[in-house]
């Protein structure tokens, strides 16, 4: 009896849930797609009415075409590289066959870096800079957070250096790297080191500030627990202070990585580090009819990679933080 009377109710409930699901799907998928479509329309409309010295501003179609071109160029370059290596190996094998004592030279293929290579370089640079920033910011943040005297001493410096643009740092970093980083056979290119250090200088502040705040804000209850247990200082820091600061640290790291990626493009442009920034700069200097659409392709790529990096950080944050849900 009850089931009979309840059945329509249950069906209704299910129906509303399905409706809700459809609504939810429309909202979660439909709206972004709508936004994207409107943006593309607007872009197309605006692009066709902008005339530059390099021709019309590229619309979505032109940019999409450039993505194809860039990929094709990459494959082409790879093929040439493989051909070069194969030819070299064949030649060396022949030389060795004729004269087993012959000195053969093995040279790597030095081709033009393709768009994909440049993405790789950019990622490597930003990650190196970010890791370096983290290695500086977290220990320093822990010390500043633990000791209010150190905090008082460093805080003005942090506040002053935090807002400095990468463009201001770059000339100094370039000169310092040129002066100090001298070796016969450098492990990294100077331009790489310059970009990396610039990224570090600009991206360490959020991590530093958040680590400081997180470490300083350990709840007094937990500190009392530690005092009652008479935890030695190091254990106190390791078991109480650091874990409780982890969520704040990760928030800082996420912001830092975002800044690192933004700064990198500017740094590469000026330092001529073979990454996406240099790609944009070269295309700008190149000034061909395709340049603008290639730059636009780079802009979109930069955006997508930045978004991806942020998502990865978010994932790590959820893994590492005890308070994340």
């Amino acid at each position: 009896m009850t089931t009979l009377t309840l059945a329509p109710l249950a069906r209704m409930a299910r129906q509303t849930r399905e409706q809700l699901n459809v609504k939810h799907l429309l909202h979660a998928l439909g709206m972004p797609l709508l936004g994207l479509a409107l943006f593309l329309l607007l872009w197309q409309g605006a692009a066709s009415s902008i005339d530059t010295s390099l021709g019309k501003f590229p619309g979505p179609a032109a940019v999409l075409e450039q993505f194809d071109n860039l990929w094709a160029e990459h494959l082409n370059e790879r093929a040439r590289g493989e051909k070069f290596i194969a030819a070299q190996e064949a030649r060396n094998a022949r030389l060795l066959a004729e004269n087993p004592g012959a000195e053969v030279s093995i040279r790597p293929y030095v081709g033009r870096p393709t768009f994909v290579d440049q993405i790789g370089t950019s990622l490597l640079t930003v990650l190196s800079g970010f890791v370096l920033a983290t290695l500086i910011a977290i220990p320093l943040g822990i010390v500043t957070g633990l000791n209010r005297h150190v905090h008082a001493a460093l805080n003005p410096l942090i506040q002053v250096f935090k807002p400095v643009s990468p463009l201001a740092w770059l000339p100094l970093v370039t000169m310092v790297v040129a002066a100090l980083y001298v070796s016969e056979d450098p492990m990294f290119q100077k331009s790489f080191v310059t970009s990396m250090i610039t990224v570090t200088l600009c991206s360490l502040w959020p991590t530093l500030l958040n680590t400081t705040a997180g470490v300083a804000a350990v709840s007094s209850d937990l500190q009392n627990v530690s005092r009652v247990l008479r935890l030695p200082w190091l254990t106190h820091v390791r078991r109480i202070v650091l874990p409780s600061a982890v969520p704040m640290m990760f928030t800082g790291l996420r912001v830092s990585l975002g800044i690192a990626w933004m700064v990198l493009i500017a740094a590469e442009m000026l330092a001529q580090n073979p990454g996406l920034g240099k790609f944009v700069w070269d295309e700008f200097q190149n000034g061909s009819s395709q340049s603008l659409s290639r730059i636009m392709a780079a802009v979109i790529t930069i955006g997508l990679i930045g978004f991806l990096l942020d998502r990865i950080m978010l994932l790590l944050q959820k893994k590492a933080s005890w308070d994340a849900n």
């Binding site: 009392n224 247990l229 409780s244």
Partner: protein, 299 residues
């Protein structure tokens, strides 16, 4: 009664304020015997927590001092384990790991790994938390968190167990459960316990003696009431016990007639923060006893 284990003599404490020193406690004298269960009761802001923190070593008395087994207390230590009001578990550790942190610190030299493990589980089972030892504080209820907090304190094998309103934040039923658990544990282990409470029934039910504090500033001990009810005590049968009700009335009379809070101004409430105004409400919403009585005492 056995020998005196803990002695507070002439304890006074002043806190510096911009307007000059504020005398929070004045000349508190108290002797507590081994295995005794003592409750501190009084209105908000009367310095109950301050007394407890001085015994814990978290605060230092300005004058006088606290002596435990012939030695003056000068810093916190695990022989005076504290159960904090809001459990104070480390949120990133499981129940087991929270107790483990304490056990590792206290019994590093006496126990091997297997013994520690056994001891940790034993203590969690003692508070009926054996089923959830690998849960984090965020995954268990408030009552369960408080149980883990108690297990952590018990696992230190303290000479004195200090409890700062351990059940204050819990609902009435959970509180009653935990009170029963605590009585059981106290019967088995015979710990010396000092407990702060706002709850008159809780105080009478659990204590050997109730220490009633006068209102601050310069708060001190007003009266001490010995509760000579046979143990084990049962909250249901005690509800009709004339002796039990006499004790309750004595405490209520002290709190709401002799030490009635007349200066309960909004300004003061604000300064006292969360604690303020809680006492009368809680007493009126008493869990076990006759509610009408508590209300009439309030009126």
């Amino acid at each position: 009664m056995t020998r005196t284990q803990l002695e507070l003599s002439g304890v006074s404490i002043e806190f510096p304020t911009p307007k000059g020193p504020f005398l929070a406690l004045d000349n508190v004298n108290l002797k507590i015997a081994e295995g005794e269960f003592v409750s501190l009761i009084g209105h908000s802001g009367c310095g109950k927590s301050t007394v407890l923190n001085i015994v814990a070593g978290l605060l230092q008395a300005t004058r006088g001092g606290c002596i435990l087994d012939g030695k003056e207390v000068s810093e916190p230590g695990p022989e005076r384990a504290v159960v904090f009001q809001n459990h104070s578990l480390l949120p990133w550790l499981t129940a087991y790991q929270n107790v483990e942190l304490a056990v590792q610190q206290v019994f590093r030299k006496q126990m091997n790994k297997a013994q520690m493990r056994e001891w940790i589980i034993h203590n969690l089972e003692l508070v009926h938390m054996g089923h959830a030892i690998h849960k984090r504080p965020g995954e268990i209820s408030g009552g369960m968190k408080q149980r883990v907090g108690i297990a952590r304190a018990l696992a230190m094998q303290p000479k004195v167990l200090l409890m700062d309103e351990p059940f204050g934040a819990l609902d009435a039923l959970t509180r009653a459960h935990l009170q029963d658990s605590l009585m059981e544990i106290q019967r088995d282990l015979n710990n010396t316990v000092i407990m702060i409470t706002h709850d008159v029934d809780e105080a009478v039910l659990l204590s050997d003696r109730i220490v009633m504090m006068t209102n601050g500033p310069a708060a001190t001990i007003g009266e001490i009431l010995s509760i000579d009810l046979p143990r084990p005590r049962n909250r249901v049968t005690l509800a009709d016990d004339p002796a039990y009700n006499r004790y309750r009335q004595a405490v209520l009379r002290f709190l709401y007639e002799k030490q009635r809070k007349v200066t309960d101004l909004p300004v003061k409430r604000k300064r006292e923060g969360m604690e303020s105004g809680k006492a009368p409400v809680k007493a009126a919403a008493d869990t076990t006893g006759d509610q009408g009585q508590a209300r009439s005492a309030l009126a």
